[in-house]
């Protein structure tokens, strides 16, 4: 058995300490510790079902080294669904638009969609398709997933406040503004 090393990170807002082998992926760390909402599809970075929010950016947890996340902040779709209005809106829209069939891709899709809308994403179907290009769905044919994200994007842009500034407040409340493994995808 490979030696276990200790790491401490925040998951869904709570500080957690785990023991894990040096090479463990963030996906395995989360699933081994009962965060089953994070799905394991390919474990090669291809399917996107394992997508989580790491310091305010969507990343594929299967290609993220768990120990590299020590001292950082991870949110799963479940934690975001409770703590973040935008994610809750996306979840609702996915249900309303019939964007969920077997549901396996949904947790990753929603986190990828949150990233898009958090980073200046607009109600633009082509751009939405690009934003979820790394998230595969075997069932829906994507159309209804794009519809759901598009609807939320429209809702945000119809608000009096530019949706951006509203989300930023949201993010700073959640402490989702840092940037450890990489940067925020906009300037």
């Amino acid at each position: 058995m490979a030696e276990l090393l200790t790491l401490t990170l925040k998951v869904n807002g709570e500080e957690k300490t785990f023991q894990a082998p040096a090479h463990l992926s963030l996906l395995r760390l989360l699933r081994d510790n009962l965060y089953w909402e994070v799905k394991c599809g390919c474990e090669e970075g291809d399917c996107g079902t394992c997508t989580v929010y790491l310091d305010g950016r969507a990343v594929k947890s299967c290609v993220t080294l768990a120990h590299a996340c020590a001292g950082h902040e991870v949110w799963t779709v479940k934690g975001l669904g409770y703590a973040d209005d935008l994610t809750a809106k996306l979840q609702k829209a996915f249900v309303e638009c019939g964007s969920i069939q077997c549901g396996f891709c949904t947790p990753g899709m929603i986190v990828a969609a949150k990233h898009y809308l958090d980073h200046d994403g607009r109600a633009d179907r082509k751009a939405i398709r690009e934003a979820i290009a790394g998230n595969l769905c075997r069932c829906t044919g994507y159309q209804k997933i794009v519809d759901a994200i598009y609807n939320v994007a429209c809702e945000l842009s119809n608000n009096d406040l530019p949706h951006n500034s509203k989300l930023k407040t949201q993010n700073s409340r959640l402490g989702l503004s840092g940037s450890p493994l990489g940067g925020v995808a906009h300037e």
Partner: protein
């Protein structure tokens, strides 16, 4: 049995100390998008993973003294969002825009892309066309290697045990462009790529140029003979034709799961032509108006 150790490097100095101590037992982990896949596939074992992702000094794009310096940990997302690169180094910007998918781009770094040295590394032809230098540090000191010399084969580079890539540096060139063809419009490893950079005189004569390709040989490469044909001439049909013939002679594409060598031989010159025209500002194609370096499917 997988058997790894892990150390987190707090800064460049700490990273170099770990790399020096571990020698060829060290494996740098930046974004992890190559390393994690290889660990799972059992392609590596018995190594110390040196996590560098917290080293802020290795991240970011700076313009200084007429040069652009891109830190090794800069993510592909950051490249694709850089207005500086969009204006001053479109080849690299275009490559970043069509690299993997939006989520993978948040993790993947430019240093990891270059160090991994896949023949299909998308930033490689762009950096070759921009004649970038790879900035390298070790306990022993610093060195700078022209990227055209850096790649030595499939997943092979001049990087020695104990060395860390700290940055990629190049002189800005607004007259540069990159094109990629993959199997689909997104998240596709390249079937072939090309990047070109040109310096045009007022009368349209090419004073200098660089032509680079990816996925058509064991390593990303420059087509020097094609460059020689182009320099001193105008970009007319005959010149382009002669240059593209030289491109054909420079490449040695193979069959793989993504495409046949024959197909790559067909498309590589087309990509070079488009990159040349786009770099020279005389691109006529509708499809590249949005500045994306991708040949669209469908």
């Amino acid at each position: 049995m997988k058997n790894f150790n892990y150390v987190k490097a707090p800064d460049v100095r700490g990273a170099l100390a770990f790399l020096d101590r571990e020698g060829d037992k060290a494996c740098v982990v930046a974004g992890g998008t190559n390393v994690m896949v290889d660990i799972r596939a059992g392609k590596m074992n018995d190594l110390t993973l040196v996590g560098i992702s917290d080293i802020a000094a290795l991240r970011g794009i700076q313009e200084e003294d007429g040069k652009i310096c891109v830190g090794a940990l800069t993510t592909i997302s950051e490249l694709a969002a850089s207005t500086l690169l969009a204006k001053q180094a479109p080849a690299l910007y275009m490559a970043a825009k069509v690299f993997a998918d939006a989520v993978t781009r948040n993790s993947a770094t430019i240093g990891g892309n270059i160090a991994y040295a896949s023949p299909a590394a998308d930033t490689a032809p762009a950096l070759l066309a921009l004649k970038a230098d790879v900035l390298i540090e070790s306990e022993g000191g610093k060195r700078r290697v022209p990227i055209a010399e850096f790649f030595t084969g499939v997943n092979k580079t001049l990087l020695q045990a104990g060395e860390l890539i700290t940055a990629l540096e190049f002189i800005p060139n607004p007259y540069s462009a990159f094109f990629k063809i993959g199997l689909r419009n997104a998240m596709a490893i390249s079937v072939a790529t090309a990047a070109c950079a040109v310096k045009l005189a007022a009368n349209g004569v090419i004073e200098d140029c660089a032509v680079a390709l990816g996925s058509v040989a064991p390593k990303p490469l420059r087509a020097y003979e094609a460059e020689k044909i182009l320099i001193g001439r105008k970009l007319d049909d005959d010149t382009v034709k002669a240059a593209l013939e030289a491109v054909g002679a420079a490449i040695s594409p193979i069959d793989d799961t993504r495409a046949t060598g024959e197909y790559r031989r067909e498309v590589a010159p087309v990509l070079v032509k488009r990159a040349l025209l786009k770099a020279s500002g005389i691109c006529v194609h509708e499809s590249c108006k949005d500045g994306e370096g991708r040949i669209q499917h469908g």
